[in-house]
Every structure is written in C-alpha cells, then in structure tokens.
C-alpha cells in the first residue's frame, strides 16, 4: 500500500470519530425529545435575567481588548506552528538551525516585549 493510502487509512478513525460524536449528541437530544416533557409557555422562554426583562439584544458591544489578545494569539500560534517541524528535526539539522530558531524566537520575543510595553497585555 502506498504512503498516500496509508496516510488516508490513518485518518479514517478521525472521520469516524467526527461522525460518531455527531450521532452521539444527536441521539441524546432525540432521546430527550422522546422522554422529556414539553409545555410551551410564554414566560418560560424569556431570557434569563435577575427578575426583569432584558432591554436590548445582548449581541451589542464587546470590549476591544478581546481583539488585542486575539491578534497576539494569531501571531504566536503561527510561531508555534513554525516551531513544530523544527522541534522534530533540529537534531539532524544541527547547530545552525538551532541559532536560526534562536533568532526567530528572539524577534517574536521582541514583539511580545513591545506589546507588553505598550500595555496591550494589561487587562483594563
């Protein structure tokens, strides 16, 4: 069997796990549909709040700070993805590859230091 087919057959369980997980949740929900009582009332389906009706829909404003962290996360997660292949093969690549990675991480560390200094890491 060729490498491509081996790769494919390795990931069959992943596809199956997705399907089985979906069926699991679906069957639980269907089971509840059969067993659980249902009675529609107007008051019951209001949004939960401390004793009063909420004024607007909730999807209005979200703090800007969440986006700052999201941007930082994208930068550093891409970095982590770059480190993955290096971490597996740096022993065969030798010292030069190591110092290249040091430079790579140092540049990103500078970026982190800059964000830190600008106060992007401080939750306000």
């Amino acid at each position: 069997m060729g490498p491509a087919e081996t790769l494919f057959s390795n990931y069959i369980p992943v596809l199956l796990a997705t399907i089985v997980g979906f069926i699991l949740v679906l069957s639980a929900l269907l089971g509840a549909r059969l067993l659980a009582p249902f009675s529609r009332e107007r008051e019951k389906s209001t949004t939960y709040e401390c004793g009063m009706l909420p004024i607007q829909r909730s999807a209005t404003n979200v703090g800007m700070r969440f986006y700052l962290y999201a941007i930082l996360f994208v930068i550093f997660d891409v970095e982590a993805v770059f480190i993955f292949p290096w971490a597996v093969s740096f022993m065969t690549l030798g010292a030069q590859a190591y110092w290249l990675m040091v430079a790579f991480i140092a540049i990103l560390a500078l970026g982190l230091g800059y964000a830190w200094k600008k106060g992007a890491l401080q939750w306000r």
């Binding site: 796990a17 949740v25 939960y48 969440f66 997660d77 991480i105 939750w123």
Partner: protein
C-alpha cells in the same frame, strides 16, 4: 498498513474501537462526577453523596436520568442555529481527541505520526462551540462568559502548545506512542519539570477548571455560556467537560509521566499497562480536584497577565534551553537543574504577583479617576 487489533478493514476496526471508547468515556465521566463530589466533600469536611445506592455510587446515574427527563428549553430570543449547534461543536472535538490517546501499547484508536499536533488542533476547536453557545443564547451573562472563555482559551493555548513542544523535542517525534516508548527508563518529568508545571497549569485553564473557571464562574456570570441551556443539552457540556478532564489526565500521564511503560519497561502485559495508566491518570485527577478545593478563582486581569507575562516567556526559554543542551550534546541533568530553577522562578513570580498587585491597583486608581472626571 498497521494491522488492527481486530484484523478487520480500517473502517470497521476504527468503528469498533470508537464504540468501545464511547462506552469507556460515558462510564469514566459518570465515575469522575461521583469521585469529584466525594473527594470535594472530604476536602470540605463533609461526606458527599451517600443516599443513592451503596456509598452514593449511583448518584451520577440518578443525575443522568433526571437530566434526560428534564424539559429542553430554548429562549425565544435565542438564535436557533448557533444555540442548537453549540453543544455539538463543544462535544465533537473533545470526542475526536480520544483518537490519539494511548491507553495501552496496542490499544489506542489510531497511532498518528502527528499525534500531538492533531490533539492540539482538535482540542482547541471546541472553543468555537463555547462562543457559539454564548452568542446564540442572547443573554448578557452567556455572552460575557463566551468571550471570557475565548480569551482564556487562546491565551493558555500558547503555553500549552509550547510545553508540549519542549517534550517532543526530547523524543524527536510528535507521535504520542513513540514519546511514551522513549520514556521506558526515565519519564520526561525528570528532564522537563518546568514544562510539566507549565503544561499542568495551562491544562487546568484549557479545561476551565478552578482556579481558571472565570468563563463559568457562578458568582460572576452565573454559569457563563451555559446559563440558558437545560436538560440534556446542558448535560452534553457537562459530559464534554469530564471527558476532556479524562483525556487531559491520560495525555499528561503519557507525555510526562511515562504512560504505560515507566517504570517496568514495555514488555509488560496488557493488564499491568492499563493499571499503570489508570494509576497515573487517577493521581493527576486527584491533583486537579485538590487544586479546585484549595485555590480561589483568579480575576480576569490576573488570568491573562499570568499567561502572557509569565508562562509564555518561560515556555519559550524552556524550548531554547532544550535545543541548546541537545544540539551541543551536553549532559542531560543540566535540563533537570534548569527546569527546577525555572520552577523556583515561576513560584517566585507567582508569589510576587500575589503579594504586590501593583499594576492592578494602578489601573483601578486610573479607572476611578476616569469615572470621577
């Protein structure tokens, strides 16, 4: 092609293994709920569940039956699609994480060469489900909880990934089973104590376990994204939470504690291998419950600062030190010494952050003056 345990074609083989996992996961999750309540009860100087069945053993069964029989509400304002599909997106990725978990030498669903990358990728998808649940409920508490969950998950994803990378550098592979087999003499925790501590903390945050449970903090956001969910749909989140606790403890025991080979080597029978995995995972679960019982919940600024200012830099330093020692073929005990020094530094920084919350105070004063003006 790696021949399956059941010697069948890969579809059927995978399906049988996954169905076994379904049974295992359900039983373990229910057991974990009981154990957590019992152990927490002991920590609180009470007995915990004791009325349902002998020693309260049937408590989880009673809970499950109650949850199935409860009405499944959907608020009128909720967005139907995101609200309905939130539980699916939380649960399915957690279930997919079982594919690479090494329980025994010959029983995992499938040995993937990129096991660690696969696990990291899949496990972070479920945060989409959290945000969907929070957004779709059309409830402010749920919305804030979902946003907090997203912020926390992406921040702690980095130390999580980087400390796993530090370990895979030692073994030179991303295949979890090969990492386990490489530890037959010395488990990775000896060489990588700092990576273990960072990974444990980040795993607590990824699991949304206390002290990192601000997305679901009852006293702040009354249950976070799940506030509008009831009955079986809520129990899907709950099942997912305990299943991921199970997965995470298996993963830590495999990657850091030598999984099923240390300390007796890989020639052991299946029963002993399973026993080793169970013992190590149970110790970790007990540790996680212990942390829940004794550490108060963090504030959100402490939470984000801890990940970005302390854990990420330390994890990067750990990777660089690993690379240096391995490339220049220095003696391995250097790694242990550096790691222990790193732990000392980490605890000093944590202690300092607790004792002198200077930045937090300054920002609080700034907020007050802003509000006054």
């Amino acid at each position: 092609m790696p021949e399956g345990l059941f010697g069948l074609n890969p579809w059927l083989d995978g399906l049988i293994r996954l169905l076994l996992i379904v049974g295992l996961m359900t039983v373990v999750a229910m057991g974990l709920i009981y154990i957590e309540r019992k152990v927490l009860g002991r920590f609180h100087a009470r007995v915990g569940p004791q009325r349902t069945g002998p020693f309260g053993l049937l408590q989880s069964v009673a809970d499950a039956l109650k949850l199935i029989g409860k009405e499944d509400l959907r608020p009128r304002n909720a967005d139907p699609w995101t609200f309905e599909f939130g539980p699916y997106l939380v649960f399915i990725p957690i279930f997919m994480g079982f594919v690479v978990q090494p329980f025994m030498a010959d029983f995992n669903v499938r040995v993937l060469d990129l096991g660690i990358l696969y696990f990291v990728a899949v496990s972070s998808v479920s945060i989409v489900g959290w945000v969907m649940a929070g957004w779709g409920s059309d409830n402010r508490y749920a919305m804030i909880g979902g946003m907090r969950a997203a912020a926390q998950a992406i921040s702690y994803e980095l130390p999580f990934v980087l400390s796993l990378l530090a370990v895979s550098m030692l073994s030179g592979t991303l295949n979890i089973n090969e990492i386990v087999l490489a530890q037959w003499q010395v488990p990775n925790i000896v060489w990588q104590p700092l990576a273990f501590v960072i990974f444990f903390i980040a795993a607590l945050a990824e699991l949304n376990r206390p002290p990192f449970d601000i997305p679901v903090g009852e006293s702040e956001v009354v249950g976070g994204p799940f506030v509008e969910y009831s009955g079986i749909r809520w129990s899907m989140f709950f099942l997912g939470e305990y299943a991921s606790l199970f997965i995470m403890s298996i993963l830590i025991s495999a990657v850091f504690l030598g999984g099923y080979v240390w300390p007796f080597g890989q020639e052991l029978g299946i029963g002993f291998q399973l026993l080793l995995t169970v013992i190590k995972a149970s110790l970790l679960i007990f540790l996680i419950i212990w942390v829940r019982a004794s550490v108060p919940r963090l504030r959100i600024d402490q939470l984000m600062g801890y990940a970005w200012k302390i854990l990420v830099p330390l994890a990067l330093v750990q990777i660089l030190v690993n690379g240096f020692v391995l490339v220049y073929d220095l003696p391995m005990p250097i790694l242990t010494v550096v790691g222990l020094g790193g732990i000392a530094l980490l605890s000093w920084l944590t202690e300092r952050a607790i004792r002198k919350p200077r930045a937090a105070r300054a920002s609080a004063i700034a907020l007050q003056s802003e509000a006054a003006s």
